[in-house]
């Protein structure tokens, strides 16, 4: 953090405090004699907020709590400054909107210790408090024009439009009820944070949790004062309580903020522990969790190029990192600018980035080691899954061949044999024309059987590929496709495994184009890609295809992976489909 915001905070705080302290001595001030029992505590509250805030900004620059405390202190001073400037607008802003510090206080409680609003609930509570503050005070500003005789600097409320004592009463009561409700909700939120926090979070929250009760009690009493409760002594007691609470509160926040520090000792222990680290991955997680004081810590490793998410857990299972809305924080660890792992931890640790940083640095080698192991495990899982799928696909394929033979060629040959048998039985009795007709029918069955066998054989292995090469085989595929296909094949010959895979990428791609794409044209492009080749099948059809939708494409991806290639699908609905396979040239 640069020094500038800190410097600005100090200057603003000193200026506001000085102004406040000097108020009664200004020639146009209204206090005669100077009421020290008001001036001292009133100044102390603002000063303690600004001072604790500046300390927080310096010691915990990653947390916004320091800045929020400074803002609260300045908001506390603001109305006094406003009253002293002899212009109606400042007077009116001060009498109507002087309670901004209370809303900032609510935000402080809810966002502690990071200063950030992490969950939807937290954001809702604070947004609600701001909305209520604006709404009730605007309503008040439009309908209230207090006349305070004897105050020398008294001004008209410039916002005043209309009003009646009854309306003032209703709006005032509503504002007070809202303040009480928000005090209860904010206290409840702090308790909820405490309940859900892990160890480092609770360490930080403890002083704030204890401060919740007196602060909430004071806010509620202050609203009830002069309404339900009456009496000068009570009034005095409530004011004293308020000053006490508000003066000490910032130091509670500061102590909480500083307690997040767990010390260098923990990281040193971590280094020693990791020196002997050779055990299961859980050992690294436990060591880091101990060093950071967060038993709930999780480590995910980045393994790019796997289907789905980028991160896996230590067993190699794909894992999703918690989103921005989660009650958990994520710290991504880099090496040479590229992320290698992510720590998922309690948000309180965000206030201590140096600790996270040094712990991560100490554990980097072990983490990298674990990441490589996790990567191997993830690859192993993927290979196992794809091996099972390849076996299944082989079984399905054999089933399909058997079915095709049975339903196609075999049935035709049976019919042919029956037809020939009948011709033999009738041989002597045929009229001249009938024999030719029966033989034509038999020949038709035979041709059908030959066609069926040819198609089947081609599906099992395209002979033209072996004899004439990939280009010719792709052209024969294109010629049989009902959609016009432009073939461009500019690649040297590769091993047979590669060419067969390229052929089946094109065959499956074109089969999908013909069956599902509603395309009017397609292209098959094979280009040299370093030592390997790149096969692309593109169409101008409906799009919206993915490997999950068809076992054919899934099988194709496995087939490409089996020879060490990569397979991808780009298919936006309405914008066609493009299958791309990059194959190594020398796979066997």
């Amino acid at each position: 953090m640069t020094r500038r915001p800190v410097l600005l905070a100090v200057l603003a705080g000193v200026a506001a405090a000085a102004f406040q302290a000097l108020t009664p001595y200004l020639p146009w001030g209204w206090y005669r004699p100077v009421p020290m029992n008001w001036l001292l505590p009133e100044t102390a509250v603002g000063v303690s907020f600004v001072a604790a805030g500046v300390a927080g900004m310096v010691r915990r620059p990653a947390s916004r709590v320091g800045a929020l405390m400074v803002a609260t202190g300045l908001a506390w001073f603001a109305p006094t400054v406003g009253f002293l400037i002899p212009l109606g607008i400042f007077w009116s802003l001060s009498i109507n909107f002087g309670s901004l510090y209370l809303v900032l206080l609510a935000q402080l409680f809810v966002s502690f210790p990071t200063g950030r609003l992490r969950t939807r609930w937290d954001r809702g509570v604070v947004a609600g408090a701001y909305a209520w503050y604006v709404l009730s005070n605007v309503a008040g500003a439009l309908t209230w024009n207090p006349v305070w005789p004897g105050v020398r600097l008294w001004q008209h409320n410039v916002f005043y439009a209309f009003g009646s004592p009854r309306l003032n009463d209703v709006i005032g009561t509503a504002g007070d009820v809202g303040a009480v409700v928000f005090a209860v909700v904010v206290a409840g939120t702090v308790v909820r944070h405490w309940v859900r926090a892990s160890k480092p979070g609770r360490r930080a929250l403890a002083p704030v949790l204890w401060a919740t009760a007196p602060t909430g009690a004071w806010v509620i009493l202050d609203q009830l004062n002069n309404r339900v409760l009456t009496g000068a002594r009570l009034d005095h007691a409530i004011h004293t309580l308020g000053y006490l609470v508000l003066t000490t509160l910032p130091f509670g926040f500061l102590v909480g903020l500083l307690r997040v520090r767990l010390g260098r000792v923990a990281v040193e222990n971590l280094v020693v522990e990791l020196g002997g680290h050779a055990g299961p991955p859980a050992g690294l997680r436990q060591a880091l969790a101990r060093a950071l004081g967060d038993p709930s810590l999780q480590i995910f490793y980045r393994v790019p190029g796997l289907g789905g998410g980028e991160f896996v857990d230590d067993a190699g299972r794909p894992a999703a990192l918690p989103g921005a809305d989660s009650a958990r924080s994520v710290t991504v660890l880099d090496r040479d600018g590229a992320p290698i792992a992510a720590l998922v931890h309690d948000p309180a640790l965000e206030g201590e980035p140096e600790l996270l940083e040094s712990a991560a640095a100490a554990a980097r080698l072990a983490i990298d080691n674990e990441r490589l192991q996790a990567e191997v495990r993830a690859q192993l899982r993927e290979v196992r899954a794809s091996r099972a799928r390849i076996v299944e696909a082989g079984d399905r394929e054999r089933q399909r061949v058997e079915r095709n033979l049975h339903d196609g060629a075999q049935q035709r040959l049976v019919t042919l044999s029956m037809a020939l048998g009948m011709i033999r039985d009738r041989a002597g009795t045929y009229a001249p024309g009938d024999l030719a007709g029966d033989l034509d029918e038999a020949i038709g069955e035979l041709r059908g059987a030959i066609g069926d066998l040819r198609r089947l054989a081609r599906g099992i292995h395209p002979a033209i590929l072996t004899n004439e090469g990939l280009g010719a085989a792709l052209e024969s595929l294109a010629a049989r496709c009902p959609v016009p296909v432009a073939v461009r094949c500019q690649a040297a010959r590769c091993t047979e495994a590669v060419e067969v895979t390229a052929y089946f990428v094109a065959a499956e791609g074109l089969a999908n184009v013909a069956k599902h794409a509603h395309a009017t044209r397609a292209t098959v492009t094979v280009t040299q890609n370093g030592a390997g080749i790149r096969v692309e099948v593109a169409d101008n059809g409906a799009g919206g295809v993915c490997t999950e939708t068809g076992s054919g494409l899934r099988g194709l991806a496995d087939r490409v992976a089996a020879i060490g290639g990569t397979f991808s699908i780009q298919s936006t609905p309405g914008r066609g489909t493009r299958l791309t396979a990059e194959l190594p040239g020398d796979a066997r």
């Binding site: 049975h406 049935q411 049976v414 019919t415 029956m418 009948m422 009738r426």
Partner: protein
Amino acid sequence: MCYVPVSVLIVDDHAGFRARAREMLGSAGYHVVAEAADGAGGIGAARRVRPGVVLLDVQLPDISGFEVARVLLADPCPPVVVLVSVREAVDYGGLIERSGASGFVTKSDLTARSLSVLIGRAS
């Protein structure tokens, strides 16, 4: 030689086979009274026309020929059931025995004579 023509129901999903079989059986003196393309249709037709013989394909699109045979043979006055298939008997293990059918012919061996031998054995 003088006999009442035996009525036959053909159950097979291949129209080409049904046509050939009808022609062949007709010329050998059998009377093909109905055809069906699947198991459910076969059961319905058998109950409607009460054929003497059912020529029943094993591999049907809905239920297997064995299942159809079991249903037909459970009737009080069952027809003679002859199973046919492109495959050979040995491909079906003991299923043909257990089905209660009177016989099995591989389609390529099906002639009027092989059929009448099986029917004669049944009656």
